[in-house]
């Protein structure tokens, strides 16, 4: 019996091999096709991790967020360049003279995918639920909101506790996405098993650990959209496998191919390697609770000793730019003359000579284990710091243990990364420079009252010109204090087959799939 099975399998395999050898041929590159977008098709996006939950107020992982953003939409949408906001489910807003009341007009004729029209009551409920999630969820983003009231079916009023510049940006966050009032009569848990929104796609199915699928919303308010029939995100943990699946035509988009594979992908026929400017910055945090990092000369010396161009070359294979500001170029009010430390060994030595440790010292850098990029950064820094007399030990902990150590201020220096969720610097600055922001100033215990005051002033300001000046000042002051060593800005990287058109990622990392389509081969 076994032998017969063996023969059967061998015959089947050989036949399959022969058949496929006949039918396979390299697909030619057909990028940049113009004309009318093709309708239909299923878009397959492969990522390293599965989604976790569709609960918009309690979910923090990007994989889940990118999916829920196709189902639940916000009142305001970030622009393609990540710098401005345009009305989306809202049509316009006015601010009262005392800057404390925002009156927002809602778009008329918008329906949820269950057929119900979207009203002010739904909007009020959606924002209130986010606020209610408090510190266990995204509630902190609505901290300035005192009260939301439904004026009439298509108008809401938001009453603030104090003037708050980032409000419209806050409303563009997925956690303030619009869902039916009272979860359409369900409990929150039931609702988020199959969420309903006004978005271009509707929830279809989720096979845990394998894939999640959304299908087209036939009654979408933007007429003629979306083009695609469905979108499937598959879980493919290994970057090599994702790359091979793309080349094998099994997937349409590879989310985050490895930096080292980018050059190969760029030269592969039928494949588009894409990089999009991001708000992502890698940096080193100094723990100012531990000597000698309370000494600005020590921090500056280390910052000056890091060759950022070398890091970009070695870690990102040239696909990125050195960081010289607390904010990233993709963030509003970024100042390119913020004066962040530049590589200068002579300066570094001079700064160290002025410091409390003129003869150098031994310290450690905390990184996440299993991450080759962080390991490269740490090794390069190790040799660079040695040149100015500092011995750097590399300490590796798995991501969760690493976070625990940072939270407990149990480190000397630590690698970290930040990317923005809203197009407003406040999300990061208040977290990074204000010890009361919840994270002891990005876990550094940095505390400069002058900087904190400017941060608060900038958040309370609604005039963009004045805010720009304040954030510029904040970026210069924080660079001088060198409380973080900025390393580099890295773009988001994707690879797709050349059939995929209209795929764009904003600096916040989100993408809208209603305008994406696949050309026929």
């Amino acid at each position: 019996m076994k032998r017969r099975i063996g023969i059967a399998i061998a015959v089947a395999t050989t036949a399959a091999l022969l058949l496929s050898a006949c039918s396979s041929g390299g697909s030619s590159s057909t990028t940049g096709s113009s004309g009318t977008p093709a309708k239909g098709g299923n878009l397959v996006i492969a990522r390293s991790q599965d989604i976790i939950s569709m609960d918009k107020t309690m979910t923090f992982d990007n994989n889940s967020l990118r999916v829920m953003e196709q189902i639940m939409e916000p009142l305001f949408m970030v622009s393609a360049d990540g710098k401005t906001l345009k009305p989306f489910l809202a049509t316009k807003y006015t601010i009262s003279k005392d800057q404390l009341t925002y009156t927002i007009d809602l778009r008329k004729g918008v329906k949820f995918s269950n057929g119900q029209p979207m009203t002010a009551a739904d909007v009020k409920f959606s924002i209130d639920q986010d606020t209610a999630s408090g510190s266990a969820g995204w509630g902190f983003i609505n901290a300035a909101i005192d009260q939301v009231t439904a004026v009439d079916d298509s108008t809401i009023k938001i009453q603030l506790k104090h003037p708050w510049g980032p409000l419209i940006a806050d409303l563009s966050l997925f956690s303030n996405g619009i869902i039916p009032n009272n979860y359409g009569g369900k409990t929150a848990a039931e609702f988020y098993q199959a969420p309903v929104g006004t978005g271009p796609f509707v929830w279809d199915s989720w096979t845990k650990g394998q894939s999640v699928k959304l299908t087209k919303n036939p009654t979408y308010w933007q007429k003629g959209l979306p083009y695609l029939n469905s979108v499937t995100w598959t879980v493919v943990p290994d970057a090599n496998t994702r790359q091979l699946q793309l080349q094998g035509g099994q997937i349409d988009i590879d989310d985050t191919p490895s930096w080292s594979s980018l050059a190969t992908l760029k030269s592969t026929p039928g494949v588009n390697a894409m990089t999009f400017p991001s708000t992502q910055m890698d940096y080193i945090a100094f723990n100012e609770n531990r000597a000698p990092f309370n000494d600005v000369h020590v921090r500056t010396a280390i910052s000056d000793a890091i060759d950022r161009n070398a890091l970009v070359k070695a870690v990102l294979f040239g696909n990125g730019t050195p960081a010289y500001s607390l904010l990233s170029p993709g963030t509003p009010f970024y100042d390119k003359n913020a004066g962040g430390a530049t590589y200068n060994v002579a300066n570094a030595k001079a700064e160290l000579a002025k410091s409390s440790k003129p003869n150098g010292f031994t310290t450690s850098l905390l990184i996440q284990s299993g991450d080759p990029n962080q390991a490269s950064i740490a090794q390069i820094m190790q040799s660079e710091l040695k040149a100015i007399g500092i011995t750097l030990n590399i300490q590796q902990l798995d991501p969760t243990a690493n976070k625990q150590a940072r939270l407990a201020s149990n480190f000397d220096m630590a690698w970290n990364l930040w990317s923005m969720d809203i197009p407003d610097p406040d999300e990061f600055t208040s977290w990074a420079v204000d010890p009361t922001g919840g994270s002891h100033s990005a876990f550094t215990n940095y505390n400069n009252p002058a900087v904190i005051a400017i941060d608060k002033q900038a958040a309370a300001e609604t005039d963009p010109t004045k805010r720009a000046a304040l954030y510029s000042q904040l970026q210069k002051m924080t660079s001088k204090d060198a409380f973080l060593a900025y390393l580099f800005y890295s773009p988001y990287v994707f690879a797709s087959t050349s059939a995929v058109q209209g795929f764009h990622v904003t600096p916040l990392g989100n993408y809208q799939l209603e305008t994406v389509y696949k050309t026929k081969k």
Binding site: S20, T241, L244, G248, G249, N402, L407, W431
Partner: protein
């Protein structure tokens, strides 16, 4: 025949404390890891205040012994608890992953037997011949190749180059699954073969030299019938125990293969659960793996008993 399986009930009862002990160790070991699930869930926005708030919501602020009693209490009701990451019953998550891993292992075992038995026979019938050396070279090669590398090479050759198989994934329908599982199973099988071939080759050589083969031959038995009825049956006994032991290790080995081939099995569930400190899921998967290893051990003894009438484990245990 059945009386020789009298050892079974006793063995099953003995395995209960083993499995229970494993869950106890895993329960406390998982909690020794620094960092808690709330921290993993909160991403870059984790602050001491938000971690505390979410921990409370997840029921992690009660004493550990209380959590353990709750866990054991639920276990007796067949409830493994709720995944902290997904907020879904662990039984549901594990039940989805088990078929993937089990069919992967089953297919790998089948393929490795299909490859190993003929190769071992070919080598053993003429030891030190050219074909024996060929088979031994293959076993060395099979043992030397790292699984993930072999997997990627097979993908490059058979999936990307010839497009005969998919590059990873599990497929969506029941008919898809064997097709999707073939390459990962083959990868596991190739790394499993060397041990089986070596043991089988050695015992076939041994059996071929024994007197009862001479007797069988003189009674007119030859060829395939001789091989199946007399040689393989006797030579298989040591190999069965080697396979039994290896299957336990293979559960571990399948973690790597599941990652390379993007299979949603127990391995990927376990790895993600560990990184996310999803304690109930870690416990659920471990419980299942422990059960699996124990059962394979028992099954090995059953197969032993079937193959060789002289093996009487029941008698041994009674004495």
């Amino acid at each position: 025949m059945l009386h020789r399986l009298r050892f079974l009930p006793g063995r099953l009862v003995q395995s209960i404390p083993v499995v229970f002990g494993v869950t106890l160790i895993v329960f406390f070991m998982a909690r020794l890891l620094p960092g808690n699930p709330a921290l993993a869930l909160l991403g870059q926005h984790a602050t001491p205040a938000s971690v505390a708030a979410l921990s409370k919501q997840l029921g992690l602020n009660t004493p550990i012994w209380e959590q353990y009693l709750l866990f054991v209490g639920r276990l007796f009701q067949g409830n493994l608890g709720t995944s902290l990451t997904y907020q879904l019953p662990v039984t549901q998550l594990v039940a989805q992953a088990i078929p993937v891993t089990l069919s992967l292992l089953g297919m790998a075992l089948l393929l490795s037997l299909i490859i190993s038995i003929p190769l071992a026979a070919v080598a053993a019938f003429k030891p030190a011949s050219g074909r024996d050396l060929g088979v031994r070279a293959f076993t060395l090669l099979g043992q030397g190749m790292p699984q993930f590398w072999l997997g990627i090479m097979l993908i490059l050759l058979l999936a990307v180059g010839l497009r005969a198989f998919p590059v990873g994934g599990y497929g969506t329908t029941a008919a898809d699954h064997p097709y999707y599982l073939f390459l990962p199973a083959l990868t596991l099988a190739i790394t499993m073969c060397p041990t089986i071939i070596r043991s089988l080759r050695a015992s076939i050589i041994n059996v071929l030299g024994s007197e009862y083969i001479g007797t069988a031959k003189s009674k007119g038995s030859y060829g395939a019938a001789l091989f199946r009825g007399h040689v393989l049956r006797n030579a298989a006994i040591p190999t069965v125990s080697i396979i039994g032991v290896n299957l336990g290790f293979l559960v571990g080995g399948s973690l790597v293969i599941e990652k390379v081939f993007a299979l949603p099995g127990l391995g990927s569930l376990m790895i993600n659960a560990i990184f996310a400190r999803d304690f109930p899921t870690i416990q659920g998967v471990t419980l299942f793996v422990a059960l699996f290893v124990v059962l394979v051990g028992i099954l090995t003894d059953v197969v032993y008993t079937m193959l060789d009438p002289r093996v009487n484990l029941g008698a041994k245990e009674q004495s």
